[in-house]
């Protein structure tokens, strides 16, 4: 099946799949340091890696839906560099409470549909669209339930395994891949989690190499019970309302994505802060590790407010995407502090 790569959680993969393509979320494995195409000083390492990832020649097209300034520039670069010029930039309105913006997002989804048809896709039959949406919805529901089971302590799945499963789901474009989550992984028993500090990992997108964070926190005595990074459960679209899905599938995409996903880029971003507050309370979180890329203004600026609404200690760690001893030491010290009951 031909692949269409998507840069963001605001591009509904089921919409791409219903047009006959395999939707793949671009999640760079690691930062790029050599042969750099966007290497200006002050460049976000993730945006730089995206600039490279978008040049892959095994994808038919790249759909960008940038939620920050640098990703928007990367989309432009991709548009000028890709020989086939098959780059689509979907503008995700930032203003959260404007009916104009809601309509515009819908219009952008429909424009994306026309683009997909232009590059060889087929306009989705209504029934096929609904069926495809339902399959993705079911897969997300299983991921959400797996995350909830971890929070409740009724699952033996490790946080890292779940995070890897999320990445596999985003990358594969195949809802059935969820069946393999956790399979073959060496799992830790439920009993091994008692006495650990309950950590929320928040922030923007993670490189695959960043999954080391999960191990570090676990080894230090913590347990990530809430993955609020861009790859995690925070950015999963809301569950579809099956009654409305039949009436207006595209409208349901707008509701599940544009209306429901809390993100730091939204204005006002009180949706994110409410989500942090509610999730921290429901998950009985002991501490927050907020991981942001170097130069990421949006997350850096919100660190103090996230601490206020979560009501627990926050450790903000910047990262260039390469696991490093300094960051690991800081995380260990943070978890030790929580274990000692300091700062709570």
């Amino acid at each position: 099946m031909i692949t269409v790569a998507c840069s963001s959680f605001f591009v509904p993969p089921e919409w791409v799949a219903a047009h006959g393509f395999r939707p793949e979320r671009l999640i760079p494995e690691a930062p790029v340091t050599e042969g750099c195409v966007a290497c200006g000083e002050g460049m976000c390492p993730y945006a730089r890696a995206m600039a490279h990832a978008a040049l892959r020649d095994d994808v038919r097209a790249v759909v960008f839906a940038p939620t920050c300034d640098q990703q928007r520039r990367v989309a432009e670069l991709s548009g000028t560099r890709r020989q086939d010029a098959a780059t689509f930039l979907l503008h995700v309105p930032r203003v959260a409470r404007s009916e104009n913006c809601r309509r515009y997002y819908r219009s952008e989804i429909e424009r994306l549909g026309r683009f997909l048809v232009e590059i060889g896709g087929r306009p989705p039959e209504r029934e096929f669209l609904i069926e495809t949406m339902s399959r993705f919805d079911a897969a997300r529901d299983r991921l959400r339930r797996a995350a909830e089971a971890r929070r409740l302590g009724t699952s033996s799945l490790s946080a890292r395994t779940l995070a890897e499963g999320m990445v596999r789901f985003h990358r594969s474009g195949d809802p059935e891949v969820i069946d393999t989550v956790g399979r073959g992984a060496g799992e830790r028993g439920k009993a091994g989690r008692t006495g650990r500090r309950r950590i929320a990992l928040l922030g923007g997108p993670l490189f695959e190499t960043d999954l080391a964070f999960f191990d570090w926190i676990e080894v230090a005595g913590g347990d990530i019970v809430l993955d609020g990074t861009e790859n995690g459960e925070r950015t999963l679209a809301a569950a579809f309302d099956m009654a409305r899905l039949g009436d207006d599938p595209v409208g349901e995409l707008v509701r599940a994505y544009f209306d429901a996903i809390p993100d730091v880029s939204r204005r006002s971003n009180d949706g994110l802060l409410n989500w942090v507050r509610d999730s921290a309370a429901a998950g009985r979180i002991d501490g927050v590790v907020l991981r942001h890329h170097v130069w990421c203004d949006q997350w850096m600026a919100e660190v103090p407010r996230i601490g206020e609404v979560a009501g627990v200690p926050v450790l903000a760690v910047d990262s260039s995407g390469r696991p490093d001893g300094r960051t690991r030491t800081r995380i260990e010290a943070f978890v030790e502090m929580l274990l000692a009951g300091v700062g709570g």
């Binding site: 460049m43 300034d69 520039r73 432009e76 404007s98 104009n100 204005r267 203004d297």
Partner: protein, 470 residues
């Protein structure tokens, strides 16, 4: 006519006394420049070189008394609108209401330029976790805490979407301090798809009609908020009148820029020209006075051009400047290094272009807002810069990076390469921190290298054109 001189703040003391003795009249906000340093804390004025004309004195005094004007407006019963980011559109909209006075709170960007970095606004921003990895606009956050640099507005309006992350993140924190922000959307400007209806924008760009409609509808929401603040809707032709007045400022400024940037001898220094251009954004909170200030500047420039006198020698290299500088002194440095300003793109070219008067006012303002160079691609920005650079006959391009700004990490290289390829001029990309003392020698060397390169190119003008990247 006397040859214009470049004056230090000390020089201006004597010059001011002499002008007063000779009977120079001044508006109510007039006075010696030194008072802004001594009473206002604008310490960086002591490091600048100024034009010696009464017109320039009035310009500086107008700029540096804006806070007083805002406080007087409030005392007179005006409601204050604090706009953010759109640079040029919301003030026109708000000027349809006689009881509203609008200013850009993100003008706090310039506070460190005038007061240095040892100020409470930056200390407060640091304390709130917005450190110097952000662009100087972070001073805005601290200014809301200290309340020292502008009166807190009655309404805050900020565009979001295709904007820089620094300002957007800082404005969000301002809201977190308990100052509600009215957000409106500015989409990333894209090319129209095949067969899709489109509209021509001021400055020559094109945008899909759907995007113009979105911005028009969003500005309609802003208008609603302004009506709520004012307590009534604007008079039927008030918005059209506001656009006509804004265009008067823009046309005046356009004439001034053409005179200053195309005359054989440079008739007005770069620093004063930068200040003049800034006036277009929100008229420095007094549109009528703004027109008078610009008229004085035009009269001064016209008389210098007519008399064949300038502030720099004939050999000065004509330089086009991109992005505002975080330290105003760098505009002086350009001239010290042998350059002269011949064209600018300070990220608000859409505030200099005339607003269409042949379409419905809200549609006209939507098109103007969408012409913002920051909401489009770097390629389109480079295209506009190339066109203006050619028009003004510039021989070199300086791209001045704003420290910490999200867009500067990327756009300089793209814009520079594109303009170099199109126009065949040497290009220099520099970063200007808010306080350039430490890097001044390096900046000077790099600017001198650019000027030398342009001079060599001038000598070789008969040879085939080559693209150079300085």
């Amino acid at each position: 006519m006397a040859i214009p001189r470049s004056l230090s703040l000390e020089d201006w003391d004597a010059r001011y006394d002499a002008l007063r003795r000779d009977g120079m009249g001044e508006p109510w906000y007039g006075g010696p420049l030194r008072r802004h340093l001594e009473a206002g804390g604008d310490t960086r004025l002591g490091a600048l070189r100024f034009d010696d004309s009464p017109a320039a004195l009035r310009l500086w005094n107008f700029l540096l008394t804006e806070e007083d004007r805002l406080r007087e407006a409030r005392a007179a019963g005006h409601k204050l609108v604090g706009a953010m980011k759109d640079l040029g559109t919301v003030p026109v909209l708000a000027s349809a209401f006689p009881e509203l006075t609008t200013f850009y709170v993100d003008g706090a960007w310039w506070i460190p330029c005038l007061m240095g970095t040892a100020i409470g606004a930056l200390r407060e921003a640091d304390r709130l976790g917005v450190c110097d990895s952000f662009c100087p606009v972070r001073a805005l956050l601290g200014a809301f805490v200290t309340g020292e640099h502008f009166p807190i507005p009655d309404l805050l309006v900020c565009s979001a979407g295709a904007t820089c992350d620094d300002l957007s993140a800082v404005a969000q924190r301002v809201e977190g301090l308990g100052h509600p922000v009215f957000w409106w959307e500015m989409p990333h400007r894209r090319r129209a798809d095949r067969g899709e209806p489109s509209a021509t924008l001021p400055g020559g760009g094109i945008a899909p009609a759907e995007q113009v409609a979105l911005v028009r509808d969003e500005l309609g929401r802003v208008m609603g908020a302004l009506c709520d603040l004012a307590g009534h809707r604007p008079e039927s032709d008030a918005l059209g009148g506001a656009i006509a007045q804004a265009n008067r400022v823009r046309r005046t400024l356009g004439h001034l820029r053409t005179l200053a940037y195309t005359s054989p001898l440079c008739p007005m220094p770069a620093l004063e020209m930068l200040i003049c251009e800034m006036l277009a954004i929100h008229f420095c909170s007094d549109r009528g006075e703004c027109i008078e200030v610009l008229a004085d500047m035009i009269a001064e420039v016209e008389s210098r051009v007519a008399e064949g006198v300038g502030v720099l020698g004939e050999a000065a290299v004509r330089v086009f400047w991109v992005n505002p500088v975080a330290d105003l002194r760098v505009m002086n440095l350009l001239e010290i290094c042998g350059g002269r300003l011949c064209g600018t793109e300070f990220l608000f070219s859409h505030a200099l272009d005339a607003i269409p008067e042949d379409v419905e006012p809200m549609e006209a303002l939507a098109r103007t807002a969408l012409a913002d160079p920051m909401v489009g691609t770097c390629g389109e920005r480079a295209e506009r810069i190339s066109r203006d650079l050619t028009r003004f006959g510039a021989e070199a391009l300086v791209i001045s990076r704003v420290p910490g700004a999200s867009h500067c990490a990327f756009e300089g290289e793209l814009v520079g390469r594109e303009v170099a390829a199109r126009c065949g001029v040497p290009v220099l990309e520099i970063e200007v921190p808010s306080f350039d003392d430490a890097v001044e020698p390096a900046l000077r060397t790099r600017l001198e290298a650019l000027i030398e390169t342009a001079r060599v190119k001038r000598k070789c003008a008969g040879e085939p054109r080559r693209t150079r990247w300085a």
